[in-house]
Amino acid sequence: MRVNVIDQNPALVSLINDYTQQIPLDANFFISFDRSNTVKGSFAIPFKSFQKFWLDPLFLTFPYLSIHRVVINELVSSDSRNYAQSRIDQGHLIVMEDSEFDSDTEIYRQSFEKAIAAHTAYEPELDNADDRGEVKSLAYIATKPLNFFASHDSRALRLLESPTKETIGLSNVGAIEIYELLYYLRRMEMVQPEDGVNGLKMIYKYLYYLTKKEKLENPNWGEFYQLMDGLYASEIQKSTGNPTPYRSFIDG
């Protein structure tokens, strides 16, 4: 996947201005990164490292992460499922339930669902598993309405980046990608100074700078960080509310 270090993402700018907004997450945020099937010679990231360098800093930073009920049910690996469930039990992860909506609002939700599904492999009438989590999440987001969807799924991201989004109720919904959050976590010092920063770098390299093609298309971690800073540093300086850095949790 390509990283965009040329244009500002209004969704990330909005998140920088207020990191306490609700961020709905796709299933792939909880599933340990694994490119071993598609990139020869690569190995899956063990869940322990995935948790330490990705999930834990994410939950340390953002107070209102959320996930749709259907997406939880899609988490097949016991590690992912147990992690999500323990965060729900601790009150750190909001579960988005369609049953929250009253009968009138449910009509809108169903309408959004149908409109969004028309662009995916999901058919509401059949309730098949293909793209179900993504469609249900986006329909909930459009109904509520919420500002973002954080995903690593190219189909979901394509939908949010295409002009079609205006005809399916998602005109105000922005996509947040993993590389943008990696930058934010590093910039806000939300990880252990040495180990954690290397962990973020490792994830970046694994997801965006692993193949020959990616090395031609995407900058390395150092350049990436500088280019992202060029796009967002002034927004970060302007922002009045920032998360408490990792160091402060340890020091006191």
Partner: protein
């Protein structure tokens, strides 16, 4: 029940032009919805938020019933599913309906792609 974007565009256009007899600018002033957005709603190219839809229903005096999608198609599929008398029949109906929906989706996507290419 779900809302039809086509019906919504027809109702909004008809009520504004023929019933209320007001311009897009006037409706925009009344509703605080951007004129371009209103124009795109009337062209079936914009799905309004719940808040925008409620404001429009009030300003142009129509209800959800007026923009309801025709549910007949869904009923056909459900009736077919319900008419299966054996497990094998049910599995085969499932497969057949899945193929029909797939073809319908293909048609829909092709139509949309054509529309997008025309509007470019």
């Amino acid at each position: 029940m779900s809302i039809s974007l086509t019906k919504l565009s027809e109702v909004v256009h008809h009520k504004r032009k023929n019933v209320r007899k007001i311009t897009l600018e006037e409706l925009s002033g009344e509703t605080n919805i951007n004129k371009d957005t209103l124009s795109r709603i009337e062209n079936g190219r914009f799905y309004p938020s719940i808040e925008q839809l409620n404001i429009l229903m009030e300003a142009l005096r129509f209800s959800l019933k007026d923009i309801e999608e025709n549910p007949d198609e869904k009923k056909v599929f459900l009736a077919m599913m319900g008419s299966a008398t054996t497990e094998i029949e049910r599995v085969n109906f499932d497969k057949m309906i899945s193929m029909m929906l797939c073809l319908r989706k293909h048609d829909r996507l092709r139509k949309r792609q054509r529309e997008e290419m025309t509007s470019c």
